[in-house]
């Protein structure tokens, strides 16, 4: 099938408005939130139903055409980067909330539904959807599922994977299967849903997603505490968590981040070397008791200022400063590189010191803003693209930072994903056996490697090359296919 025939077939499935094939229009989709990788896809298709997704994928399968699924395109690891000569399946038109089931605490949505819509839909009933990535006002549930998105409240409530209870997925051969129990617990068989969530779009496309919703907590308390430096703020974090408290959120910003945020939106942060935002939620009696403990720990760690949000408005202001952190970097640096790494919480101090040393060595400023409770760092490497070689230097420094995370027992990524961006680092964290075994799963779902190829694994494994006695595939046995 040549490109013209493919366009025609897709137009038959989707109508002319559902297919984008003009080069200048295709450029809109050349990258996701990670803009240093760009590939113009052969074709962009915009299905409006699960059935259309299935037909598109079936066509790609029959023709051996690779495809990539994309939601809102906010991902930060290039997970939705198109493949050349491939089809980009944009799911933003699948945006219906299909069912709200309060008695079972479930909402069923299409993948293009925006994260925050789910909470809005059930707010009047006193419920909400817990995972809250910073992108939640634009990012889609399908994208959240693919990336296993986190957010500031995942320390207490878990990640996307803990809140997706079932999914209808279109497999790379165009067949449809339902994984996870949805409304029922403990579905017999392998935990396919747990393996699918966070697989970065490489195992198939979710077309219906069942989410768990939670009752809104009875009470929420938020405070901001200022410290001399990140070390003292880190001491407070250890003191809070060591006291047996699981805060809803505990976030840290360093001096450079505070400066940028002040310049950009002036939330009136106190002058400090580090700021912590701590939020507790739950039953009133428990929150009250624990909040006193948090204040005491902050004082013991020489907090120079403690501000308690007295109402929702003040709380929103505190969070606004935190949520603006990435974007605010533009006010102090022309360009910046967002890194995402994880360290065990007890290693935070050592890794921050290492980052400071690296920053000095490279002559580039690094701002730190992170989810302190779970050790998920987001160092922002500031640079100027107009200075020759500085972009490369910034990327190298960002790489050194994740290596430092690994050396201290951490991970390459806490929530942004491996995608295209960190493929090359995977061998630093996993052996080739580890990655080969992971790819056995890939081979079960996508033996022809047409579903979001060229992501996560630096060396794709050929399915069926496993050493051992030769087994003829049933399709092959029946004479329907040669070798695959």
């Amino acid at each position: 099938m040549d490109r013209g025939q493919l366009i025609e077939t897709m137009q038959e499935i989707l109508g002319p408005e559902g297919v984008i094939h003009q080069r200048e229009e295709l450029r809109t989709y050349e990258c996701d939130g990670l803009m240093n990788y760009r590939v113009i896809p052969d074709l962009v298709v915009l299905p409006e139903s699960a059935e259309q997704v299935q037909q598109i994928v079936k066509t790609c399968y029959d023709e051996g055409i690779p495809f990539v699924a994309r939601g809102s395109g906010t991902g930060l690891s290039g997970g939705a980067l198109p493949v050349e000569s491939g089809v980009l399946i944009v799911l933003t038109r699948l945006r219906r909330i299909l069912e709200v089931d309060i008695p079972n605490g479930r909402v069923v949505v299409e993948p293009g539904v925006i994260n925050v819509w789910v909470s809005q839909e059930v707010a009047d009933e006193g419920y909400y959807y817990a995972p809250d990535p910073a992108s939640q006002i634009v990012s889609s549930i399908g994208g959240n599922l693919a990336e296993n998105s986190g957010g500031v409240h995942c320390l207490k409530y878990g990640f996307t994977t803990n809140h997706v209870m079932g999914a209808e997925i279109v497999l790379p051969d165009g067949s449809v299967v339902h994984i996870g129990g949805g409304k029922s617990p403990d579905v017999p068989g392998y935990e396919l849903l747990g393996a699918f969530v966070g697989s970065e779009g490489t195992l198939g496309i979710a077309t219906k997603i069942t989410l768990r919703i939670l009752r809104q907590p009875e009470d929420v308390r938020t405070l901001l505490a200022a410290f001399k430096d990140t070390e003292e703020a880190g001491g407070a974090v250890s003191g809070i968590i060591g006291g047996g408290i699981v805060p809803a959120a505990i976030e840290m910003m360093d001096a450079l981040t505070i400066e940028a945020v002040e310049k950009q939106i002036s939330p009136g942060f106190p002058e400090a070397g580090a700021i912590l935002i701590v939020e507790l939620d739950g039953p009133e009696a428990e929150v009250e008791h624990q909040f006193e403990h948090v204040i005491r720990v902050c004082e013991e760690n020489e907090a120079s200022a403690i501000r308690v949000a007295e109402d929702d408005e003040e709380r929103a202001l505190l969070w606004k400063g935190r949520q603006a952190a990435f974007g605010a970097m533009g006010s102090i640096s022309k360009d910046y590189y967002v890194q995402d790494g994880v360290v065990p919480r007890t290693e935070l101090g050592a890794v921050l010191k290492k980052i400071a040393d690296l920053s000095e060595e490279y002559g580039l400023r690094v701002a730190n803003v992170f989810h302190a409770g779970d050790g998920n760092l987001h160092p922002l490497v500031l640079y100027d693209n107009d200075t020759p070689g500085e972009a490369d230097k910034a990327e190298e420094l960002a790489g050194e930072i994740v290596f430092a995370c690994l050396e201290h027992g951490g991970s390459l990524t806490g929530e942004h994903g491996i995608g295209r961006d960190k493929m090359k680092y995977m061998p630093k964290m996993f052996t080739s056996d580890d990655m080969d075994v992971m790819q056995l799963l890939r081979c079960a779902f996508d033996p022809h490697r047409i579903c979001n190829p060229g992501k996560i694994f630096p060396t794709p494994r050929l399915c069926g090359e496993r050493p051992g006695p030769f087994h003829m595939h049933p399709v092959q046995k029946a004479g329907l296919a040669e070798n695959f």
Binding site: I179, Y190, I418, D436
Partner: protein, 426 residues
């Protein structure tokens, strides 16, 4: 399958003479007798044993304490029992990071005792006494506190496995937040030893809560159970406030029990609030921490003993009345005794059927037929062999069966890991 030649001496060469022994009748898995029990002491030895088994085409059943060897269908063949009990160490526990890394053969009880010294715990509380961590992961065991903490798949953060061909691989890590690579820890959770041997597992931990209150209510009509459960679930005392919400039904009376853990003023306030929520259903009683412990010890047990047929029913929590109706109705017609318990807050119900072999299979079929229409699953978790021969342990499986089989084929192409015990002939 043919009984294979078992290279005893070679196995002794790998794990040491004293760690290979002839299997006895007690080692039989649902009547299928293995030849040898092999106890490797390290992951390297485990890998060597698996390579040898792979070369000889031996069927391998991994085993911890052996508390759940009756789960699933009778195996097609077992040549080796691979016992993990010598691999029973805590590899790393960092209280400040609230994580632990353990070897699979460690008993959960021993782990919990050790963690308690740091006021921490693993938030999984299955009823099987003496079970190992590896067995808990492989069987996806859970208990009442799953309402708050989730199940194994929600708490496991890393894994090390040995595949049928001896390949050693890990996934995840020792940090709670981590999205690097596929989440094989979850894939292996509940895989019942059919994808490989689970050698190590890493978990996130939670602080032990200061004190507890139990609120329970007795009812004389099983229809009232579901109403009371729904009222609690949708009050301000829902998930993440309630630690457990359980039920039992025996004879013609039932009990609903709610567990609140936390600091004294909080559990005090919550237990009074629960009493208030339940008032329209009857007068509930409140137990302090010590009395509560004794209460839960009995309450959390499975409602069956050896020789009974034990069902695990998964259904939408709001469908509890229909679940109870279907079971109670079917056993009444068949003249069979039933005891029921369940994690009512999460939609898991256990039914223990006893008395009379005739009609048992029909009861299971009937309950399954209703679940097929209304959503959910019915797994036979306990049954005498005579019944197992007439029933599939897993029941009908959804449209994911083909995908499940493809996963199995990739991880264990020769079907030598626990062959036949899992669903769809896996």
């Amino acid at each position: 399958m043919q009984t294979q030649n078992v290279p005893t001496e070679e196995l002794q060469g790998i794990v040491g003479e004293e760690h290979v022994r002839e299997a006895s009748a007690e080692d039989a898995v649902d009547g299928v007798e293995p030849s040898l029990v092999v106890e490797p002491g390290t992951i390297e030895e485990t890998s060597e044993v698996m390579k040898l088994a792979n070369r000889e085409g031996l069927a391998v059943s991994p085993r911890g304490s052996g508390t759940k060897m009756g789960l699933g269908n009778p195996p097609k063949q077992v040549d080796l029992i691979l016992s993990t009990t010598r691999m029973d160490k805590i590899i790393e526990h960092v209280p400040g990071d609230q994580i632990v890394r353990v070897q699979a053969g460690l008993r959960l009880q021993d782990l919990q005792e050790n963690l308690a010294e740091s006021d921490q715990m693993l938030g999984v509380d299955p009823p099987e006494e003496g079970a190992t961590v590896g067995g808990m992961v492989a069987a996806n065991s859970s208990g009442p506190r799953r309402l708050r903490y989730g199940t194994v798949r929600d708490l496991i953060i890393g894994i090390k496995v040995v595949l049928a061909d001896g390949t050693v691989a890990k996934a995840g890590g020792k940090v709670v937040k981590n999205v690097a690579g596929y989440d094989l820890s979850k894939l292996f959770t509940g895989s019942l030893g059919t994808l490989g041997v689970i050698a190590e597992a890493n978990f996130r931990l939670h602080p032990i809560r200061e004190t507890a209150r139990t609120v329970f209510l007795e009812v004389d009509d099983h229809a009232k159970i579901a109403d009371a459960v729904q009222d609690l679930t949708h009050s301000s005392l829902s998930q993440f406030v309630l630690d457990a919400l359980e039920m039992r039904w025996e004879g013609d009376r039932g009990v609903i029990a709610a567990l609140f853990e936390g600091i004294e003023p909080a559990v005090e306030a919550q237990s009074s609030a629960a009493t208030e929520v339940l008032r329209s259903h009857g007068e509930s009683r409140v137990l302090g921490e010590d009395d509560g412990e004794t209460f839960w010890e009995h309450f959390a047990r499975r409602p069956w003993t050896t020789g009974d047929v034990g069902l695990k029913i998964g259904a939408p929590p709001s469908d509890l009345t229909a679940v109870l109706d279907s079971v109670v109705g079917a056993v009444e017609r068949a003249g069979i005794e039933v005891r029921i318990s369940g994690h009512a807050g999460t939609g898991v119900t256990f039914a223990g059927l006893s008395g009379g072999e005739d009609g048992l299979v029909e009861v299971v079929d009937e309950v399954r037929e209703i679940r097929l229409r209304r959503g959910g699953s019915v797994v036979v978790q306990e049954a005498p062999l005579t019944i197992k021969e007439r029933l599939d342990a897993w029941g009908s499986v959804g449209d994911y069966l083909g995908l499940t089989q493809r996963v199995k084929e990739k991880f264990d192409p020769e079907y030598t890991m626990n062959p036949g015990r899992f669903l769809g002939g896996i």
